[in-house]
Amino acid sequence: MSYTIEGSTGTWEIVVGLEVHAQVISKSKLFSGASTAFGGEPNTQVSLIDAGFPGMLPVINGECVAQAVRTGLGLKARINLESRFDRKNYFYADLPQGYQISQFAHPIIGEGKIEIELSDGSTREIGITRLHLEQDAGKLLHDQDPKLSFIDLNRAGVALMEIVSEPDIRTPEEAGAYLRKLRQILRYLGTCDGNMDEGSMRADVNVSVRRNAGEPFRTRCEIKNVNSIRFVTQAIEIEAARQVEIWESGGSVDQETRLFDPGRGETRSLRSKEDAHDYRYFPDPDLLPLVIEQNWVDQLKAGLPELPDEKRARFQKEYGITAYDAGVLVAEQATADFYESVAKSRDGKSAAAWMTGDFFAALNRTGRSIDESPVGADKLGAMLDLIADSTINGKIAKDVLETMFETGETPLEIVERKGLRQVTDTGAIEKAADDVIANNADKLEQYRGGKDKLFGFFVGQVMKATQGKANPAMVNEILKKKIHG
């Protein structure tokens, strides 16, 4: 879907590239044995290496390398069998060594791509420039004391993957779709939990604008550390509008780093290009080049889970469901797994309809995630089985599902306890039909007089007389026979 900004002098297109910092899921840090668990008491997960003590040396954590390679494979990217670590030098109180170990010239992962889906059903491919491993910094706490700042180094040295996109994004919606898709892939791979509110995924957004697709890129601004997808799309809109205004009033945009203030709905300058750090990158002499074997990469590849794109295609093919339903069901790995357990050897379409309908509605209403659902895949499946073998009808099933959420009973227990078995006894239905016809002679006359709609009234009355348990198809058939004679 195209997105343009109407300025006073014409139409503008936006150009966006994203740099995402994704915290690697690993037990210990990138170069030390300290724990990476979130939420520990300050400075309880800090090794002497993380604190930059004299004589301490980094040793690469193989699991973090494996996670980066898995991510690269998931992004269909080039895996560089030799990569290097560089030092990015700058002084800050949250950076104990006085430099961050990163990969500048030779990242572990090269070019890759992500396919994003947009709300109009179209798809687009966004290029990945690179992915590299680097250390996270610690955290400064300014609110503990009126005069002093405190430092928590628990996060210092935790592994991050910096994932850089090509400037392929053209709308705020695409930026959001890119981030959602990237997060989905990372979660499927188990390489990052993608929790933006805990800071384990953060985005730097590069924005520029231009007159049309034929014009070369203009100066961009980088908006640092945006911590939600909604804020990313807002920041792009606001920053692009700011730049259009500058260009149209005859000014020029300065290359700089900016901050997004969601409260005021504005971006503001953090530091200009002149004030930019000279990071003095150079190869870290404490670490040898990182050399990995193709064999090992192949093993990691063989161990990768099925990724969302492939899973969605398979769901459509294997279970005959729509692209839309398949997309909803693969959004989270847990949902997809749940669906597969329910759909396996059952009617996939009906399983999809129940899950995306009443089941999700019940979860939403009770504020639960699928992992916390009181109704497991086995119980939902058992309910579908009861519908399939005509033990209950669809209307009763809705009530059964409600009760399952409340009591955690099996559907059969509920059906038995409440006596909800579908009535398929012809005699019982016929008797109910006879009673309804006898008690509603006036309606019958109207119906025969041409008021066709009244047939539904008779069906409803019979269902009511059987407390909803009658088989609807049989009710229809018997009523037709009786009324039409």
């Binding site: 040396l57 030098n89 430099y99 150079f282 002499p285």
Partner: protein
């Protein structure tokens, strides 16, 4: 006198019960008490810990099967972090720093039974060639010219270690060598100094100067003692990614190895203009001694030698400018008072904490890594470094070991130091190339010059072939029969 023994002799004596480890340690502590006030070789003396360790050593010796260095008193360069013992790197900024950990090299020595007498003086952060940049004062060389008593420098940066060993107030000492910091002070003080192959000894827990060059090694009075100490210090360490996973051979056995057929290279480029006749003569004497021992002498060329010093003084400062960024007054070390902002805290702490030479090298290193200068300096230096490494690789296709002088001059006076820092850097001209290429190298004392000061020769070997250095060094030592001792030493002074 117990302080006159070599490590090998003392180890034998301890096992024969000729004396106890406690007696040996006390003799050294007492000598330190007499001499250190003048020499200033130790920054910190750990007399109590040493005596406790000696008592433990006596028990181990009594139980039998004690490791080689059990009860041997050593000095530890104050660049190795020692658990619970202040470690200063010769700098004001670490004057209050007590590490809660033990470096791998010193832990290896402790495991081997060694007794630590204390922490020896050094140029600040190992930056210097004369031990004149220490925040804890200059070290005096125990040697003096026969004509006068002018105080001379012990060389650097491991000047305290060299002086302590030469003055018999340590039986051996650890040093570290980045561009010559073991070999040059060993030559100035008339002792043996061995810089192993880069990666042979772990760098973990040793305060970094230039990570791609730093290497720990032994400083002793004999080649055999260097072999014994290196045996204990060396070995693969998973905590240091640049430490080599290569088995450590029996170094002591190499001291008696025959040199028959060993090819010794004499590099043409180690003969710069203005080199003293005296030094040339000592070098020739070394060549003759090795020829007599059965070696074949081969002329070789290391054509990029002349770029060694310039390259070194780009790469080493570049790495140090980054390595020393952690000394910011925040988490350990000395924090400046009265800072008004974070930047002010950095500036004050680092300005007050670092001496002039360290500040100079941080500035040079910051400059050569800066945007716009990186390619012209750092990148070009790395390329030249590759050429220097290739020089050695080519030479070692033809020869097994190289023989050169260790330093261009003998020790000079404290008041004779050149005003121009670049002149000072020239002290490292013969030692820097081997450092740049990671080759093992050793300085052996061979003769006294006409003024009565020791001169050393340097052997440079193939990667991880310290054994050939030790074999050739032992042969030189035997032929030279260098028995002169400095006037300031335990039992001789006072």
């Amino acid at each position: 006198m117990l302080t006159d023994l070599t490590i090998a002799q003392a180890a034998a004596g301890l096992r024969k019960r000729d004396f106890s480890a406690t007696e040996l340690t006390k003799a050294h502590i007492s000598a330190i008490g007499q001499l250190n006030g003048r020499l200033n070789a130790y920054i910190t003396v750990t007399a109590d810990q040493a005596e406790t360790a000696a008592t433990r050593a006596d028990k181990t010796l009594a139980a039998g099967d004690a490791p080689t260095l059990t009860g041997i008193p050593l000095g530890i360069k104050d660049l190795f972090c020692t658990n619970g013992v202040r470690t200063t790197a010769g700098s004001r900024i670490l004057s209050n720093f007590v590490p809660p950990y033990e470096s791998t090299v010193t832990a290896n020595l402790l495991k081997n039974g060694a007794v630590f007498l204390g922490k020896t003086n050094l140029d600040e952060f190992a930056m210097g060639s004369a031990n004149l940049t220490s925040a804890f004062g200059e070290v005096e060389n125990p040697w003096h010219r026969s004509s006068d008593s002018t105080a001379l420098v012990p060389g650097g940066s491991s000047g305290g270690s060299a002086a302590a060993v030469a003055a018999h107030i340590a039986m051996g000492a650890t040093g570290t060598d980045t561009g010559g910091s073991i070999r040059q002070p060993a030559a100035y003080c008339g002792i043996v100094g061995l810089k192993p192959t880069y990666g042979r000894c772990s760098r973990w827990g040793t305060i970094a100067f230039a990570s791609s060059l730093d290497q720990a090694g032994p400083m002793t009075r004999t080649v055999e003692d260097a072999a014994i100490m290196l045996q204990a210090m060396a070995g693969h360490d998973p905590k240091d990614s640049t430490s080599a996973s290569i088995a450590v051979p029996d170094y002591r056995a190499a001291t008696t190895r025959s040199l028959k057929g060993l090819r010794v290279g004499i590099p043409a480029e180690y003969r710069p203009d203005g080199m003293s006749e005296e030094l040339l003569a000592v070098w020739q004497k070394g060549i003759d001694m090795l020829r007599e021992a059965g070696c074949e002498i081969v002329d070789v060329s290391l054509p990029h030698t002349k770029y060694g010093l310039a390259t070194y003084y780009i790469i080493a400062p570049a790495e140090c400018s980054s390595n020393l960024a952690r000394y910011d007054g925040i988490r350990f070390g000395v924090r400046a008072e009265g800072a008004t902002s974070l930047d002010d805290l950095y500036e004050k702490s680092r300005h007050n904490g670092f001496g002039e030479e360290v500040r100079r090298r941080i500035l040079v290193g910051t400059y050569v890594l800066s945007a716009g200068y990186y390619d012209a300096y750092y990148l070009k230096a790395q390329k030249v470094r590759t050429l220097i490494q290739r020089d050695f690789a080519t030479a070692f296709e033809k020869v097994d070991v190289l023989l050169t002088p260790t330093a261009p001059t003998a020790a000079f006076g404290h008041n004779e130091k050149p005003d121009d820092p670049v002149q000072m850097y020239l002290n490292d001209i013969f030692t820097v190339p081997a450092s740049m290429a990671g080759q093992p190298a050793m300085s052996v004392p061979v003769a006294l010059d006409s003024r009565g000061l020791p001169l050393g020769l340097q052997l440079i070997g193939r990667h991880f072939d310290e054994e050939t250095l030790i074999a050739a060094g032992a042969a030189l030592e035997k032929s030279a029969a260098f028995s002169a001792r400095p006037d300031l030493r335990a039992g001789a002074a006072a």
